[in-house]
């Protein structure tokens, strides 16, 4: 079974797939498991998980990962599932990297869609010509004048990481205040990184590769041109459901239409969690957990038509055994 989306419902689905004795892979476009919880509110307390009077977001994710761990799910993180192909007795899912996964059944727990870096307005032409949205390694920035755009943790962390490597680092942020962790901001203010605030990047210039960046002061509207051979835009993420629409799934208003067994319009493809739509839908984690169990157990009968939908009771497991 392939689960698309490593948020809470996908992780819980991985547990159930394992409980049913299926081998399971979980693909997610983010580098870490946990979906929206990890991306948006890891430190917030959640009060509506059954049996937990309160649980911190990242603790819930850690527990879900631990619950699935005995079944050794294969995690394909940082991978975006972009295409679906129907095979005679399976579904073939292709990832943006080119990797393919052949599964007897697929459960889409894609939440609000795949996360993409928010584009720097008006800078689409500069991608791969000196503009980057993520900084996997600092090496390529050696001896360059780097302009980092943004005020969150990624922007500040990358600016600090680049400081000892690059010739110069300038951080441009639309406000005087930075949203990054207080300690990081303290380090930033004590560093050699030049802070240009409140300001916005309004243009990039250069022959082939970027050579300079135009920055406009938000208050005075004065435009300054900074030399830059590299620009890093760290403006957060936006979610996009279009890769799933491209599979041929019935998507209405960013949600996948499912029936009472959580089956979608595509053979062997089920869905669960925030991404599903049906009359009476309530978008809560608690509901998504139930849908994940419904989707996985119904999908199990697609994988093996002789299997029953009902998985048996988890209390019947021999202590310490996993299936």
């Amino acid at each position: 079974m392939l689960i698309v989306g490593a948020g809470p419902c996908g992780l819980y689905g991985a547990y159930y797939a394992g409980f049913r004795g299926l081998t399971v892979a979980v693909v997610d476009s983010l580098p870490e498991a946990g979906g929206q919880i990890t991306a948006l509110y890891p430190e917030k307390m959640i009060f509506d998980i059954a049996g937990f009077p309160s649980v911190r977001g990242k603790d819930l994710v850690d527990n879900l990962v631990a619950q699935a761990a005995p079944f050794d799910p294969i995690y394909l993180l940082g991978e975006q599932a972009v295409a679906y192909e129907q095979l005679p007795d399976a579904a073939l899912i292709r990832c943006a990297s080119g990797q393919t996964v052949c599964a007897k059944a697929v459960v889409v727990t894609g939440g609000i869609g795949t996360f993409n870096p928010r584009p720097l307005p008006g800078a689409a032409d500069w991608v791969d010509r000196g503009l980057a949205y993520i900084v996997p390694t600092y090496g390529p920035y050696a001896d360059k004048d780097v302009v980092v755009v943004g005020g969150g943790d990624s922007a500040v962390d990358w600016a600090l990481g680049l400081e000892p490597v690059a010739r110069s680092v300038t951080i441009v942020h639309r406000r005087d205040d930075f949203r990054a962790h207080g300690h990081s901001v303290k380090l930033l203010r004590a560093s050699t990184v030049t802070l240009v605030t409140p300001a916005q990047v309004v243009g990039m210039d250069g022959a082939q590769h970027v050579e300079s960046v135009s920055v406009r002061d938000v208050k005075t509207k004065a435009v300054t041109v900074l030399p830059a051979q590299a620009v890093v835009a760290a403006l957060g993420f936006t979610a996009d459901i279009t890769p799933l629409e491209a599979w041929g799934l019935d998507v209405q208003d960013r949600h996948i239409v499912v029936d009472t067994s959580m089956a979608t319009n595509l053979p062997r493809v089920f869905a669960a969690g925030d991404i599903t739509e049906y009359p009476g839908k309530v978008r809560l984690i608690s509901v998504g957990f139930g849908e994940a169990a419904t989707a996985v157990n119904n999908a199990a009968t697609v994988i093996d038509p002789a299997a029953e939908v009902f998985p048996g009771h988890s209390t019947d497991q021999v202590a310490g055994s996993v299936a």
């Binding site: 307005p121 957060g236 936006t238 925030d274």
Partner: protein, 116 residues
């Protein structure tokens, strides 16, 4: 019920919320920002970053600000000055850019002195 940007945002337009919104459903008008209620997924990421505390969950909106909820909706459902059709559901601020006008109420809005 989705999140609502109240008139406290008028003439502030800080836009930190836009950087947080994972579905890009916050749009920039002439004097304030507006949340597209049908595109908002109710995640709450925008609310804590607003430097003037202009953003509320719709269900927690104080009674005296209920008009702001209607206003967020009107921005997308009514035909704004200089336009032929309502904005509707543009599918992301990045796609349409600054709108540069406001609802009639916000165009004529006088900020109370205690909110400056």
């Amino acid at each position: 019920m989705t999140f609502v940007i109240t008139a406290t945002c008028v003439d502030v337009k800080d836009q930190s919320c836009i950087e947080e919104c994972p579905v890009d459903c916050i749009y920039v008008g002439g004097r304030k920002l507006y949340i597209q209620p049908a595109e908002c997924i109710d995640c709450g990421a925008c609310e804590p970053v607003c430097p003037v505390e202009a953003i509320y969950a719709g269900r927690q909106l104080p009674e005296d600000k209920a008009v702001d909820k209607d206003d967020n909706r009107a921005f997308f459902e009514e035909v704004l000055p200089g336009r032929d059709a309502p904005l509707g559901r543009p599918g992301g601020y990045a796609k349409v850019g600054e709108i540069e006008v406001d609802t009639a109420r916000i165009t004529d809005f006088v900020k109370p002195p205690d909110e400056d």
